[in-house]
Every structure is written in C-alpha cells, then in structure tokens.
Amino acid sequence: MNLLASILGDRMSWDYFWHGWVQFGGQAATIGGALAVVAGLTYFKKWGYIWREWLTSLDAKKIGVMYTVVAVVMLLRGFGDAVMMRLQQMLASGDSKGFLDAEHFQQVFTAHGTIMIFFVAMGLMFGLINLVLPLMLGARDVAFPLLNSISFYLYLAGFVLVNLSLVYGEFGAVGWLAYPPLSELQFSPGPGVDYWLWSIQIAGIGSTLSAINFIVTILRMRCKGMTLMRMPVFAWSIFATMILTLAAFPMLTGSLFMLSLDRMMGMHYFTSELGGNAMMYINLIWAWGHPEVYILVLPAFGIYSEVVATFARKKLFGYTSMVWALMAIALFSYLVWAHHFFTMGAGGNVNAFFGIMTMIIAIPTGVKVFNWLFTLYKGRIRFDAPMWWFVAFVTTFLIGGATGVMLAVPAIDFQVHNSLFLVAHFHNTIIGGVVFGYFAGLTYWFPKIFGFKLHERLGKLAASLWIAGFFMAFIPIYILGFLGATRRLEKFDPSYGWQPLFIASAIGTAVIGLAVATQLVQLGYSIWKRKQLQDKTGDPWNGRTLEWSVPSPAPEYNFARLPVVHSRDAWWHAKQGQANIYEGAYRDFELPKNTGTGVAIGIAATIFGFAAIWHLWWLCVVAVTMVVWVLVRRMMNEDTEVLVTAAQARKLDATRKAAA
C-alpha cells in the first residue's frame, strides 16, 4: 500500500472520478466516443490503414486533414459547452438554480474559451495552412515535414489532456486566461488549473514549432518566379500570422511556466503576497493574447482575399495595400495589449496610448474591407457557398469592428469591460471573422483535398442559419451588457429582468445548433453523393492560384513538375494562354518516408502532461527520457526519404491525367 502511495503521489484520489450526474454525462460521452473510434477501427480492420496512411504520414495535406478533424471534434465539444451555458443562464433566475452549480458552470466556460481558441480556431488554422500553403507556393511539402508532424502530435496531446479532464479530475474554474491570484494554489488547489496549464502549454509549444516551419516554408520553398510580391494574399496572411505566432507564443509559454512554478514549487511570481504580482501575469498573458486574436483572424482575411477574387472572377483589388495592411495589423497588434485591462487603474496617459493604438488597427482593417468590396465592383460574381460565407462575414464583422472601436475608448470601456457587451463583441469578431472565414476556406479547398465538392445548397442553408442564429444569439447578449450584466454569472437576481433576453439568446443558439447540424448533414450527404459531386477538372471554381493547376485530389507530391510563374494569379494567366507554368523537364525528387516519431513524441508529451498535473515526478522523468530517446533514434536514422525519379514522375503525371 505504501509503495502504491509513493508511486501514485498524494494528489490522485478516487474522488476525482465522481462529481455528479451532469459531469457523468461528459465522462460517458468522452469514454464512449473514444471507445467507438477504437471499436470502429478494430471492427473494420482499419488499424493498419490508419497507421500507414494517416498517423505516420508526413504529407502536409494529410496532417492538415487530421488537424481539421480534431478541430471539428473540439468544435462540437466547445459548442456543447456553449449550449450548457446558454441553458443555465436561461434557467437560473431567482429561485431556479438551473442544472449547473457555480463551480461546474465556471469549469464549463473556462473549457469553452480554452477549447474554442486553442483547439478549434488554432486547429482549423494550422489545418488549412497545411492543406493549401505548399500547393499555393508551388512547393511539394513544407520545409520540415517531421517537425510538422511533431507539432500536430503536441496539439493532439493537448486535445487528449483537455478531454481527459472530463473523465478524471476537473478543469480550471478560473476563466480561459486563469488570472492569478485566483488561479494560484491558495484559491484553486485542485488539478483543474493544472489541466488547463499543461494542455495549452504542450499545444502551444507545437504552435511555436509550426510557426518556424511555415516561416521557413514561405521564405525558402516558393517555386521559381514566385517573388514575395507575387505570392497569393493567403500566403502573405500566413507569413504575417506565423511571425506573430513565433514572437507571441514564447510569451505564453513563459507566463504559463511561471504560473506552473508558482503552483508546483511554491514560488511567488504572481501570488498576492511575498513580492508576487498578479498584474505582471495579466500584462504578460495579454502581450501574447492580443496578437493571438490577430493570429486567428489574419488567415481568415487571407482566405476572403482568395475567395472574393475567385468568385468575382477579377483580380484582387489593391494587392499592395492588402499586403501593407496585413503587415501593419501584425505590427500594431503588439502595441495594444493593455486595452484588456484599462480598469487596472493605470491612469490617463497609459490608457489613452493603448486606446489610440487599438483604434488605429481599424484603419488597415477598414482598407481591407474596401478592397474586397472593390474587387466585387465590376466583377462577375458567382454565388457559390464560399461567397455566402464572405457576405456573412462582412455583415457581421462590421458590427464587431465598430463595437471593438467603442471598447477601445478607455472611458467607455470602464462601463462595458467584463460585461456581456464585451462577450458579444469578441464572439462577433471571432465567429463573424474567424469561424466564417475558416468555413469559407474549408468549403473552397475541400474538392482539392478530397476530390469532390461539398453539397452547395446545404452549404448555403448552413451559412444562412449561421447568420440568423448569430444575430439572434448575440444581439440580446449585447443588450444585456448595456443592462449591466457581467460575464460568467451562473445565476442572477430576477429583479434585473434579464431572463427574457437570455431566453432569446438561447433560441438563437438553437438556430446555430441547426446550422451546425446542417453542416454535418452536408458533409455526410456529400460523401454519400461524392460521385455526382466529383471534381474532374481539378479546377472546380475557375481558380486563380497554383493549387487549382493540379488534379483533385492533389497528389501526395503536389506537383510532378514544379511550376514556374511569371505573375500573380499565375494559373489564371496560364488559362488565358498568356504564360505556361509547366515548362521544362521532369526532375528527380525526394519525398519523406512515413515515421512514427511524431506519434511517439505525442504519447510522451501526453504522459508528461498527465504526470505534471498529478505530481507524479518519476513519470515526468520517464516521459522526458522517452522524448530524448525517440529523437536520438530518429537522428541516427538516415533512411528517411524515398526517391522519385524523373521517369517515374512523368509516368505518375501521365496516369493522373489519363484518369481525369
């Protein structure tokens, strides 16, 4: 018994398995989901297939698909959290306590924020980058394919830990940025904050590594003739985003590391007493946190730029302005972090500076909107589903931008900070800007990856339901903010009269639920009807950039011959007969071989996170040793690439063309 106690440490306890029936629902769903996947793979004898074709693959497109799948699973979980919150706030007025107690409600909104930002938005972003960036640049792969795989598995380790917290333990009940001193051991002694800490710490390291990978890819892997100013705007947006990521994520890692030292080793970086200062954490976390929102939205801006030009069948208006606007937003996003805490009492000069810097960002953003509008002007606009997402974006994002500018005025912020007005504002920008953008991107590039389009009318229906549901859910939330409702309340006094608006918002959430269901049906129906929806040409939208010049689904090697470009929108010009992008001879090239290195590192990282959460120090050592061992083994392996000769490339190309 003593031995067992020393192995399991003093933190683990059976009590962490049972919290109540509502939590049991979460446990059952998580375990059930995991078991269903395992059982399905076993029953259909797909373990070998999934290992060879997916888990060990270093093909960026497959890694992109895996990111997207994980992100969609997390989207459903995060949406489930949102539904729980809306139901609770709809019910809990006065004597009615709803179905969640304070502690559980706080865990739910902490999980919702953490999941939506770190695992849905970041996951979809890295997914989309992997799916299309190399294709757009005329490259066969990213700069460091193995690093790419490792990044994905670190993200997956975070995903496992977040979901494990549903089964064994608890999640932080401190808000998605876990401000100390509340998140310190004194006020949050349980493992919840540690689950939060280690899941995003590990996923965050993956993001930093990805940033290095994509920056190098953009700088070094572009095809011949593609100067920086000939890159598609999506590639520019990724360039800006990845610079932001590389500069910002180490700040997150550092702040989380200091907080974990406070919690594990009794240090005092951010505690109330003994010289610690919680305000230091709040500054540091937002110095990461504000660039983070631009990390999410800039790729979406890139997607809109591609979508609008393609469907208006017109060159993107003001390319140079667009690039400058992107880079200006990236720069200014570092100079605004203190607008998240004007209410800390920093005084007029500091607040005015950060307020003005914040509203300056509205200028390049406004320029981008005007450029998109003038791309439509005198175009011939086709209204396929991606365009619906663009219109959804402009109609919603404008309001989010305007409320953002209001929040940027410190004297106004004092009245709406931490209120539901703020909550409505950032959902307005993140749903309107980021989510709609990523949906547009997924719809747009889906045929390139899978070889068939998503069903059009179901997509348009989903977009319509999303817009309607969005306004129905969040306009009441804006109004509640004006009525003095703060965020994160699990119950409220009936005399405030908030309940009808919470009910209205819950109905809007139900409409969003219908929209999500429509998207799932759309996916299922499209797979079922994939023959009718097949993309035979490789260029279903009459596209402009290089990814549409290869067959769909894009082959593993992307290009049998690397393209040579002479202008922006090279594929468009090639179709007009103005230039030939595939000239010259076939050449030998190498493709990375599959490897289980990423999987092994992901498993070790998960074990490390679990061990750190439960204070199993010996297991931490084991996990670190495992990582080192895997890396050393990999370094000694020299047989990591497979050669495709010029003759084979020609043959592959010919078979592809014959099949199409």
Binding site: F187, V350, A362, K378, M406, F414, G484
Partner: protein
Amino acid sequence: MVKRAARLRLPPLPRWAVVCIWVAVTAIFAAILYRLTKGMNHGILNPKGEIAERQRNLLAFAAALSLLVIVPVYAMLFAFVWRYREGHKRSYKPNWDTHKVYETIWWGIPIMIIGILAAVTWVTSHSLDPYKPLASSKSPVQIQAVAMNWKWLFIYPEQNIASVNEVVIPTNTPVEFTITSDGPMNSFWIPQLAGQIYAMSGMSTKLHINAYDVGSYKGLSSNISGTGFSDMKFAVRAMHQTDYEQWISTAYASHDALNETVYSQLRKPSINNPVALYRVISSDLYDTIIARYMHPDSSQVKTTEENQPSQTKLPTSQDTDHPMHDMGGM
C-alpha cells in the same frame, strides 16, 4: 431511397423571395427585442450619476461615428453583390486592380474618423479618469471598499462605521472610493453611477462618483473571483444629505464593533451575506488589510513604500495620484 430524396428536393427560391424572407425575419426579430427591452431602465444607458452620464454620452458619440462607416459599407456590399452578380450586362473589368485616387480615399476616410476618435479618446481618458476628483463645492465623502470572499465591505473612515454588501451615499455629493481586495481580484462596478475599476489585493485603486438621484442602484463585481462570484453584489442606496446623516448616526450608535476577531470571522469565505453594519474602532483597518499582502520584513516594507499607495492622504484639486502607474508599465 435515392428517388425519395430527389422528390423531396425543393426548387431553388427566386431571389426576391430570399430577400423578402431575410427582411421579414429581421423585422420580427427587431420587434421581439423591442418588446423584451421596453421599460428596462437600470443599465448603463440610464445613468443616475455624473460619470455614468458622461460615459453614456461618449458611447453614443462613438456609436454615431462608427455608423459613418457601417452604413456606406453595408450599402456598397449589397449594391455590388446585386449589380455585379453573374449574368449582369454591366461592364466587367477582370484586370482592373488598382486605382490611386480610390485607394487614397479609403485609406483617408478611416484615418480621419479614427483621428477624430483618437483626439476624443485622449481628452476623455484624462477627464473621465476614475482617479480624478469631481468638481463640487462639497468635500468628497471617503469610502473604502474591500472585496472579500464573497462580499463587499465598505469602511467609512471619517464616520468610523462599516457596512457589508450595502453602501449608503448622499446625493449630489462627490464620493471617493478607495478600493482593494482581501482575496482574489474583483472589479468594483455600479453601472448606473460610474464605470468599474479592479479591486486587487495589496494594491489600492480609486473611483469617484456623484449620484444625481435618490434611489437604490445595483452594484456588482465583474471579475470572476471563485465559487461565490455571482453573489458578489451589493446595493448602493443614494439618499438626501439629512437621511444619509441619520443613517450614519444610527449605524454608529446601534451596532457591533468591527474588531480583529469580528474581521477574521468576516474574512472566512461566505456566500450571500446579509447586509450588516458595524462601528469601526481601529482607524487603520484598511491599511492593515493592504499590509497583509506586503513583505513581512519591515525593513523591506520601507524600501518599497514609494511604490505603495497611500490611503491617508486627502485629495487636493490636482490629486489624481496613480499608485498603479508603475504597475501599468510593467
């Protein structure tokens, strides 16, 4: 199965029908919201004090300014997607991608609007600074607010009384709140009287208010502070000077003393504390609460004293001393 799905498929809706549906849905939704919010008069749009009123006016100004962008952009979006949809007979310029004058205009318009708002921001960040004393012929009432798990303690240092979860103030008199926390961070907010400011342990922040009308206003914490966060609410009762003075004397005459034992009792986490009134014996209770979080070694306290706020100093006309200035720069 396939046949049935095909039979159920709806014909595509004509464009005018789609537009009508959207207009109808929007109108119904707006009508419902109007009905739901009718008669609600307790938010930041219905200020009952000087600061909240000026903040409301500023909000209205910023909203009006943003409409200058929103309305034309909406108009352009819908006009362009309608006029230039596929099949139109108007001009199509696939290679037209730059125009110096146009681009200058839409860099220029946002720059001008933001320029105006930036100037307003600079001025109001100072004029509506919560640390700035309010102009008045009366000297301000001093109240010290302490956020605790999970209740608010209000100390009246000049009257030597204290109250829990209720604060009474005279109308048309400036009130200076000095705010700290004895526990996690909270945010001190009375929506109808003034915007919020954080309550942080070991530190002191300030908020000035001036209530116009007699009434009871909602006060709350807007920053999550643990399990009892939703109950971190308090009533603000604004009354005429004579009623206020009477309340003070009743409070002083009839209630328990807030000594160390009672305070440590109060410090224990509790939810939904009833309103309570105390006499205060020690004049430096608030300073003791802040000092709890300072370094235990007294010599070090001395060296860091400059960084720490002083609560005993009475405000002068220029006094907007910002103990947090150093912190904000970190």
